[in-house]
Subunit: 345 residues, 2 copies
């Protein structure tokens, strides 16, 4: 099993027509990833269509177990079922898999990676590397620089999650449902379980009826702990879907052992990789989805002492990141870049 | 100073043309408030227009200091400046004022009332009673039944606040900005400081640059403490404006002295006044703005043990209430009902 990619890898994108697949192509282009070739794989339904890749049309092929011959890097983003079924074939064919689904994220021999946070974990991969849940990826970019300075003891998050996390069809449903509402017309939800126009709802992932936590919340907790290397971190979480198109926001409280120095936290975040500080109290300018959309950086702001913790040891902040970029495609391509030979990217 | 109203009070509504003013008229109608008459007061700009009240047109009059002759009950909802200027005149004229602004909410001789929570506080009024901030009113309806059973020791809230909190013009801005976005057109914000279409942002209230908390957050903390009678309650809070029209949502964590019994909390809330339990884990059906809008009840659900508190003493829940009703007009009319002679309403 090669731990690293060749200098000019032959790339396959699985799920090329999805919301994340499209962004994977754009990330490869914009970051000038040194791909020798890019193969696009999708379901039979999309096969035969073509998409532009680095300025030239590429015909989409149907995904089969034989699709990975001659592929060095397979970027999967077609759901957990597809990953479980086809990623082993890709590895057998000699490819390194970077998987955007939840299929392998908690397996001990699959590194779960946010390059700004735990890049060294990549070295131990056995052919598959997992790209985290979008909330976990965005959150840990903001948390890691703080945790490096002082260990995090407790975390609370309430999320404001965009349509894109449920795919391109959910983004379109938000547009259609909203247009119908503005026209005074009814719209029956097709993709998400609840009306979406000017509405919000508890995340649509299936819920464990015993605990009252949904699958999204369970993933965010488990993955945040794993990425930060804090397996026992207490994490309170509420995941809510809001009528926003493609950037996730989260209100966080982060508890440390000692009283919080907000200026010191701000200074750490101001120079942290992947973070852009947006924290202007005078102009009331803080992280917003419209300013995070299409941006690589995670926006962090509203840094302040949390009034809910009388000890003064809790920092409150508001974090927004593009769900399709840092929450998915960008992070996957960054992982792949980390597997290139030194100096190749 | 009469502590109570006559059985058939003569009513004035100040700010009758605003989003809350319209709902005040509707609440009086729908609850068959025994008004002998209803006078509508607004700025000179609206004077001369008319609105339907209990089936008959009422001409809007310009608000002046002389407007309150012969008025028993003045419902103010025209902003803090108008309340400070005209409420004393109304009291001098013999009216009882129920004020929806923040002008008097923290004055010791002005009761701050959510009838389901602290109705006895009304008895001590000196002519003015204050209607709370919308978040505080909605939150305390859900918190009070829990607090009666076991004292609350700590509270955390992240809000998802609707356009209506910034008035009818903000609701219209959300519609216009969203329609423009769907049409691919630009829209320059007129009412709120940030783009609102498919976007969210930290609450637009002015921020204290020293603490990093905005005026909305400061009000919610102070008023929640006062209504619950917990002057020292630690309250963590993040107030966010989301693209929803008229119902506020909040993700809450409520900490007690002993481990939480979720079933007991659910049973308390199921019979609590002003609360509707919406807590169906199997069908993934929890409080949503579209189901709270136009409803008197505060919807409460997603009851569960908060995983962020290893002691098990924290209850997590999600609460949604109509900002214009329980968050404003309904609560004001309920206060007025509480001032009627026994049996009059």
């Amino acid at each position: 099993m090669p731990a690293r990619l060749p200098a000019e890898p032959r790339v396959a994108i699985v799920g090329a027509t999805g919301a994340v697949g499209i962004e994977l192509i754009r990330c490869l282009e914009q970051r000038r990833f040194p791909a020798a070739s890019v193969r696009l794989l999708a379901s039979a339904r999309s096969a035969g269509k073509s998409l532009s890749v680095m300025g030239a049309p590429v015909v989409i092929e149907e995904l089969t177990e034989a699709s990975f011959q001659g592929i060095d890097l397979a970027l999967f983003s077609a759901g957990s079922g597809i990953s479980k079924r086809f990623a082993p074939a890709a590895v057998r064919a000699g490819a390194v898999v970077v998987d955007n689904s939840s299929a392998f994220r908690m397996l001990p021999d699959v590194p779960l990676v946010v390059p700004e946070v735990n890049a060294p974990a990549m070295a131990s991969h056995q052919g598959i590397l997992a790209n985290p849940n979008c909330v976990a990826a965005i959150a840990t970019v903001a948390l890691a620089p703080l945790h490096r300075a002082a260990p995090i003891r407790r975390l609370n998050m309430a999320t404001y999650q965009a349509a894109s996390g449920a795919g391109a069809a959910a983004m379109e449903e938000l547009r259609l449902a909203t247009a119908a509402a503005l026209a005074g017309q009814d719209y029956a939800p097709q993709v998400l379980p609840h009306p979406y126009a000017f509405n919000l709802f508890s995340h649509n992932a299936e819920m464990d009826p015993l605990t009252g936590y949904n699958g999204e919340e369970t993933k965010v907790v488990a993955e945040t702990r794993r990425i930060l290397g804090l397996p026992d971190l207490p994490v309170g979480i509420t995941c809510i879907r809001v009528p926003v198109l493609r950037a996730h926001a989260m209100a966080m409280q982060v508890t440390f052992d000692a009283p919080v120095d907000v200026d010191a936290a701000r200074a750490l975040l101001a120079t942290a990789p992947g973070v852009r500080l947006v924290d202007d109290r005078v102009r009331n300018h803080f992280p917003m989805p419209n300013e995070a959309s299409g941006q690589d950086d995670v926006l962090v702001g509203r840094l302040r002492v949390d009034l809910g913790d009388p000890s003064g040891c809790t920092l409150a902040m508001f974090v927004v990141g593009d769900q399709l970029l840092k929450g998915a495609a960008l992070n996957a391509v960054q992982i792949a870049e980390g597997l290139l030979p030194a100096g190749a990217a």
